[in-house]
């Protein structure tokens, strides 16, 4: 198990997440894509922490990101609930009020 393989896994995961965010119309699916991106980042944090300086900073940072992702998911889901109750849909294309 080397650092390279872990970075490739993380990059693949990031790309999957990005692809999900860019292509999916459902807001919940987009949120899931964001979770994938955050986890790809976590893998990078842990991998660099383990292979490069042997200190716990990166791994602790990964724990923070998980907590942050949970909070983010909570806030995002609350927004989706409100969106659904007002517009009857959670399609992100419908939420284009900020269009110029």
């Amino acid at each position: 198990m080397t650092l390279d393989k872990l970075l490739v896994i993380a990059a693949a995961l990031f790309c999957c997440g990005l692809y999900t965010v860019m292509t999916r119309r459902n807001a919940v699916a987009v949120l899931m894509g964001v979770e994938l991106i955050l986890n790809a980042t976590n893998i990078n944090f842990v991998a660099f922490s383990f292979f490069l300086n042997r200190m716990m900073g990166g791994q602790i940072f990964a724990v923070f990101v998980i907590v942050l992702a949970a909070a983010e998911a909570a806030v995002a889901l609350a927004i989706f609930l409100r969106m659904f109750s007002t517009t009857g849909t959670v399609e992100v294309d419908a939420a284009d009020q900020l269009k110029g």
Partner: protein, 720 residues
């Protein structure tokens, strides 16, 4: 007393201010205040005259000067008072007549709606006239000169509701302005050359030769122009008869006794500066006036108009008297005339007050109804006609004598015309004055209604008449007047003579300006009286200077003087006899025509109808001036108006149109360039905004795509 002389003018000024401000609220509307101040002035004038008379010195002078306008240490203009014998007499004349006219006005103006204002105006007049008399410089006499003109204007137009009165006021003012302009030019010539204004300083400067020759003659004529205007001399005499529109006491005070005499006083005051040419000019104007206005007076039927023209004529006598060298004679006639003419005018006022008419053809027989007015009027008429024993005889005789003396001494035989004209006019004077008296007081009443209404005037009106009639006798004047009022030395003659004699000039000038105590030897005074104008000026001068003996011509001069004295004596004797004869003839003719009925006046008038019309219409002077001066200035005004309308307005309009055009251009620049820049900026902003807004799609994946694309680009840049 003489030290307080400067108070005299200020008393009426004080009462003027009080009366104009609160006169209506004072008891009796303030007439007592004006009468009181002028009466105090009269008392002080009597005191001054007493002091002057007690000194009995022909060269008496009291001269106080203090600086008025100072620049740095230098006094530019001085003020002060000058009292010599002439001033003392004039002060007395002005205050006496003024006081009596104030008194007379209380009765005459009773019940007038502007009673207090009338007295205020009388006070401002008294102030100006007294200031004029006391003035010691050309500047101050000019200031007061204009002030008397103003008060004359105010009083002539006092009943300004009457159009004729307000017109007469304007006419008097404007005609006087013409003369005053000449006066101003004269003063400016003097000031420009001599640089001083005081009489003494100017005479000294002329004596030193700073101003001489033609320019001096012109300056003298300029100053005399002021006298032409104010003393109603030909050709500016037209205002005085119209001035009779004012209240009659005003006519007596201003337009008969005092103000019109100011011109004569002025000529007397500046007497030393006149050149022989200027004197001749003065004499001719006096002669023309005295003859012309006397002929007009023959054909007038308005009592005040007759008196007005006789005033002009008598003023002509004074001016001519001064012009022919009769300094004492002219000023004596001024003094005596003031008394008897004021008496005549106040008497006419009394008559007008009684019968409410000014037309002598509606009067007649008033002798019984108004005995006091009749007697006083008759005395004054005898005085003006030159009957011996009355004041007019004394002074007019002196003028005729001076004229004859001038004619006899003159190389030019034409100069006898002064005597002949004046003598003939003396007869005319007696004739028209007695015509007036006969038509007014003698015979039977022509208008019974008015006659029945007539009554004697109240005492406040006849007391002044009696006093003035009393002053119309000659014993008041004869003797002292000729001694105290003597001709001053001419500085004009001294200015043109040769160098050695100039020493004498300066010495003499020093004598002139010194105080009363100096240089008053009787011999010098007597020489000074010998007329020094004419052809023989250079020979006379050294002798006239008295103390300086000038070797070569001494004998000849003394012989000349003896010869001159002989001529003078002869002239005065002839003049006296002839004037008495002519005066008596005039009076006799008046009785023949208007009283005895030997000659019917209407037939005479019909026989010379064109001449009578000519005289009745005052030689058509008013019409002539209407046609030339008035219409001329109207035409000029119209021309100027046309110029204004077309040329000046055209220029203004043109510049306005240019402005409009320039504004149009600027407006276009503003619209297209400035606004274009502003609008262009705005539309560029909107345009770029509408382009950029397309980027904001609101689609989440677009943003994410841009985000990822951006990150990729940054990565690629970093990588290579």
């Amino acid at each position: 007393m003489i030290r307080y002389a400067y108070i005299i003018p200020f008393l009426p000024l004080l009462s003027f201010f009080i009366n104009i401000a609160v006169g209506k609220r004072l008891p009796r509307k303030g007439d007592w205040l004006c009468l009181g101040t002028i009466a105090i002035g009269l008392a002080m004038s009597i005191g001054i005259f007493y002091e002057v008379f007690r000194a009995y010195d022909p060269n008496f002078r009291y001269h106080v000067v203090f600086p008025w306008v100072t620049v740095g240490d230098r006094a530019l203009f001085n003020t002060g008072i000058l009292i010599d014998n002439v001033t003392a007499v004039m002060l007395l004349v002005v205050t006496i007549v003024s006081t009596l006219v104030h008194l007379f006005s209380i009765g005459y103006m009773h019940g007038d709606p502007r009673y207090s204002r009338y007295f205020a105006y009388l006070s401002i007049f008294s102030f100006s006239m007294l200031g004029l008399v006391l003035a010691e410089s050309f500047l101050f006499i000019y200031i007061f000169w204009e002030l008397v003109g103003l008060s004359s204007y105010l009083l002539i137009g006092f009943w300004f509701e009457k159009k004729s009165a307000s017109d007469a006021g304007k006419k008097a003012f404007i005609v006087n302005r013409v003369g005053d302009f000449g006066f101003l030019i004269g003063i400016l010539i003097i000031y420009a050359t001599c640089g001083v204004m005081g009489y003494d300083q100017v005479f000294l400067a002329i004596g030193e030769g700073k101003l001489s020759g033609t320019l001096l003659t012109l300056a003298g004529i300029g100053v005399f122009c002021g006298a032409i205007g104010k003393s109603a001399q030909f050709p500016l005499h037209v205002w005085l008869p119209d001035a009779m529109e004012g209240p009659t006491p005003v006519s007596a005070l201003i337009h008969a006794a005092t103000m019109v005499a100011a011109g004569v006083y002025l000529v007397g005051r500046v007497y030393p500066m006149f050149t022989p040419d200027a004197f001749l000019f003065i004499a001719y104007f006096g002669l023309i006036t005295l003859f012309l206005t006397a002929t007009i007076a023959l054909a007038q039927n308005d009592i005040k108009k007759v008196l007005a023209y006789s005033t002009c004529s008598q003023l002509g006598y004074m001016i001519m008297g001064l012009g022919v060298g009769g300094y004492t004679a002219g000023l004596a006639h001024l003094t005596t005339h003031a008394a008897f003419k004021a008496c005549l005018f106040l008497g006419s006022g009394s008559v007008i007050h009684a019968v409410h008419s000014q037309d002598i053809q509606e009067m007649g027989g008033l002798r019984k109804k108004m005995p006091i007015t009749f007697v006083t009027f008759l005395i004054a008429t005898l005085a003006i006609s030159g009957v011996p024993g009355f004041s007019g005889f004394y002074s007019k005789d002196m003028i005729l004598g001076a004229a004859l003396e001038f004619g006899m001494k003159s190389a030019n035989p034409l100069h006898m015309i002064f005597f002949i004209g004046a003598l003939f006019t003396a007869g005319l004077t007696a004739f028209y004055m007695f015509r007036l008296v006969i038509l007014t007081f003698f015979g039977g009443p022509k208008d019974h209604h008015k006659f029945d209404h007539a009554h004697e005037s109240p005492p406040s009106m006849w007391v002044p008449l009696v006093i003035l009639a009393g002053l119309s006798f000659s014993f008041w004047y004869s003797g002292w007047f000729g001694t105290l009022v003597q001709k001053p030395m001419s500085v004009a003659n001294l200015a043109v003579i040769s160098a050695p004699a100039k020493v004498a000039t300066m010495e003499h000038a020093a004598v002139m300006t010194s105080d009363a105590s100096h240089g008053s030897s009787p011999a010098g005074a007597k020489q000074a009286q010998a007329p020094s104008h004419g052809t023989s000026a250079p020979a006379e001068t050294p002798h006239a200077a008295g103390p300086v003996v000038h070797g070569e011509s001494h004998e000849g001069a003394s012989h000349d003087a003896e010869h001159d004295a002989h001529i003078a004596h002869t002239a005065h004797t002839y003049a006296m006899y002839s004037s008495v004869a002519v005066g008596t003839l005039g009076i006799f003719l008046a009785f023949v025509v208007y009283s005895f009925g030997w000659i019917n006046p209407d037939r005479v008038v019909n026989a010379v109808k064109p001449l009578h019309n000519f005289l009745q219409n005052k030689w058509y002077f008013d019409e002539l001036y209407e046609a030339t001066v008035v219409n001329g200035s109207k035409a000029l005004s119209r021309g100027l108006s046309w110029f204004d309308m077309h040329v000046v307005d055209g220029l203004v309009n043109l510049s306005a149109q240019l402005g409009v055009f320039a504004s149009f251009l600027v407006g276009k620049f503003d619209d297209y360039v400035v606004d274009g820049a502003v609008n262009g900026l705005a539309s560029a902003t909107t345009g770029s905004g509408s382009l950029l807004r397309r980027l904001q799609t609101g689609k989440l994946y677009h943003y994410v795509f841009v985000l990822a694309g951006g990150a990729l680009i940054i990565f690629l840049i970093k990588a290579f």
